[in-house]
């Protein structure tokens, strides 16, 4: 029964042109638009050096790690042009827009900028990165590893060098997140066919002697397969046609894609079972949720992701699009896998919650009204 249902669910999905458009074509079309829109910006922005000021106070003077890091980022990597000055002059420079922002080392690092923009976002991420690396180093020293030398320190900082810091990569990450979540349209569509209170075919299958669990599993496996194929095509297209460099962690990228697709599948099942509306409305709701999630995770500009991280972090913590985007981000920019694994766990938890919420509706065989 599982195979019978899998086979026909696959046929149904592959014959539906609208579903195929959203699953296969739309992400690729959007990828082409991103490529056309951002490739020039990327190359021109790479030449810019961000002018900043650092308040040269006692705390900064004591902070050997940060001093070394910023020295390297201004000399070897040419990300920053740094003016070491006092607070008054820094304020003046910022006011005259001669610098993007200034850093004050006072019980940590305080960043002052005038507005939101690409340079400001880059500054913010670099500072965050240095701070987190500094914490690792501090723990290292605490544990008695006093022999940490400067080349190791440089190695850590290099990961955030200008060479890798392509902010348009975020656009492609969100594109993949969107594609994974759009898979929910497939699972939503196929789940509707199994619910007697939503669909005439659902009524027909409900009165058959086939077990509902087997029917659902076969259908969801088919929708997952189509979804993963769609995502694979997007990867292949962006890598080979748009020359997007996702880094070297292919197995982890595949893992993230598979689990991201699972999140999309579970979201689709939840929309199908929990929302009382016709199929078109449900599709609209699912697309809206996905697009909003992608927007908040930086699809239309990385500053949005940063702003949400800063102001409403919980929103991005429960946003599956951000979990996927951030997972790729973590793979690309971070040495360790902690942040990546955290996103994987979050996505699994999200999927589990969605499926648990849908469980009652999926299991139900008798209704108060049809």
């Amino acid at each position: 029964m599982l195979w019978h249902n899998f086979k026909y669910s696959l046929k149904v999905l592959l014959k539906n042109k609208i579903l195929l458009f959203w699953t296969f074509a739309f992400p690729i079309i959007l990828g082409i638009f991103f490529h056309m829109a951002f490739s020039d910006i990327e190359s021109s922005e790479k030449l810019d050096v961000i002018k900043i000021a650092i308040i040269n106070n006692e705390e900064f003077d004591r902070d050997m790690f940060s001093k070394e890091a910023f020295k390297m980022l201004s000399e070897e990597e040419k990300i920053f042009s740094i003016t070491y000055t006092d607070i008054e002059e820094a304020k003046e420079l910022l006011k005259e827009e001669k610098i993007t922002g200034y850093l004050l080392f006072e019980e940590g690092v305080n960043i002052t900028v005038n507005r939101s923009g690409i340079n400001e976002t880059v500054l913010r991420y670099v500072v965050d990165e240095i701070s987190s690396n500094k914490e690792i180093m501090t723990e290292f020293y605490k544990e008695g590893n006093s022999q940490m030398n400067i080349s190791e320190l440089k190695g850590n900082i290099k990961d955030i060098s200008k060479e890798n810091l392509s902010y348009t990569m975020i656009e492609y990450y969100t594109l993949i997140a969107m594609s994974a979540l759009y898979g929910g349209i497939l699972s939503m569509f196929i789940t509707n066919y199994k619910l007697a209170n939503k669909n005439a075919v659902g009524k027909r299958t409900s009165i058959s002697p086939a077990h509902k669990g087997g029917l659902l599993l076969g259908s969801l496996l088919a929708s997952y397969l189509v979804q993963v194929v769609g995502l694979s095509l997007l990867f292949i297209f962006t890598i080979f046609c748009l020359h997007v460099d996702y880094g070297n962690n292919l197995p982890f990228m595949i893992l993230l894609g598979l689990i991201g697709s699972l999140a999309g599948l579970s979201l689709g099942v939840a929309v199908a079972t929990l929302i009382k509306a016709n199929e078109n409305t449900k599709t609209g709701i699912l697309i809206a949720i996905t697009m909003l999630g992608c927007f908040l995770s930086g699809m239309m500009g990385i500053t949005m992701k940063y702003q949400i991280d800063k102001t409403i972090p919980l929103l991005n913590k429960i946003n599956p699009a951000n979990m996927i985007t951030d997972g790729f981000y973590a793979l690309y920019y971070y040495e360790g896998l902690n942040r990546f694994l955290m996103n994987i766990i979050s996505l699994l938890a999200f999927s589990l919650v969605m499926l648990l919420l849908s469980y009652r509706g999926l299991r139900r065989q008798k209704y108060d009204s049809i």
Binding site: K15, Y193, K203, R204, I207, S208, P209, K366, D368, I370
Partner: protein, 312 residues
Amino acid sequence: MKNIVEVKNVTKEYKELKAVDDLSFVVKEGEILGLLGPNGSGKTTTINCILSLLNINKGTIKIFGKIMKPDAYDIKKDIGVVFQEVAVFEELTVYDNLDYFCGLYIKNKKQRKEYIEEAIALVGLENYKKFYPKQLSGGLLRRLNIACGIAHKPKLIFLDEPTVAVDPQSRNNILEGIKTLRDRGATIIYTTHYMEEVELLCDRIIILDKGKVLAEGSADELKELANMDEKITVEVDHIKETVIEKIKYFKNVHEVSLERNTLIVTYKKGKNNLSELIDLLKENKVTYSKIFSERPTLNDVFLNLTGKELRD
């Protein structure tokens, strides 16, 4: 003949509306039972309750002598349902739709293929096997809907208004197909608001209104309830009140009514009612363009029982 379906004191309420009200009836093996009633009379709700798709507030339902439940798979394997709404996959061909739905019941591929071919022949879709549903006319689509419901050769078949909005050719095909199913030994529950269809097909008829049984019996038995044996309709050019009074005094006349130029005379029973009426009209020089006699219909029964038409 044993009872195939037993519905006992079933009540189904939607908030303040009783869609099915203390309904009880049985369906005997091999018979076609017609559930006749106007839209909203509770026919489809009754079927959904019997199929255990709907929660019921009260009562018991047995099929093949066993209590019907959503997980009564041994009962479900012998049931076929043709819903009022067309329940097929738009993305699958006629043959694939049949293979999918039949495959939910019949695992053996060879046997399934034979059953599907028989179902296709029964509904006359031999030339449309590779067509997609959107390529079919309304009538052909209804035929596919029926084939999907009966391809696995069920012992008990529910047909919920299968001829709604179909062309005469498809309608005849569907009705012939239902007769064939009956001849093969299937027990059928047939809901409709077309009285001609139940008269033509059903061995027994239950007239439903507001979720209650109004009357039950064969078509002839039910017509007894119409309180008349003959109805004569005359399209008159003009008729005087005195002539109408004379008609009323005829033996066996039950009721006389004139609406615009249509005179309707109903008789309790009797012979030669038509010739007697023609003679009277001639004597009184009443000219008419049309005159015809009818036996009472189930609509007349319904009208007599409820004061309203079946298709109101």
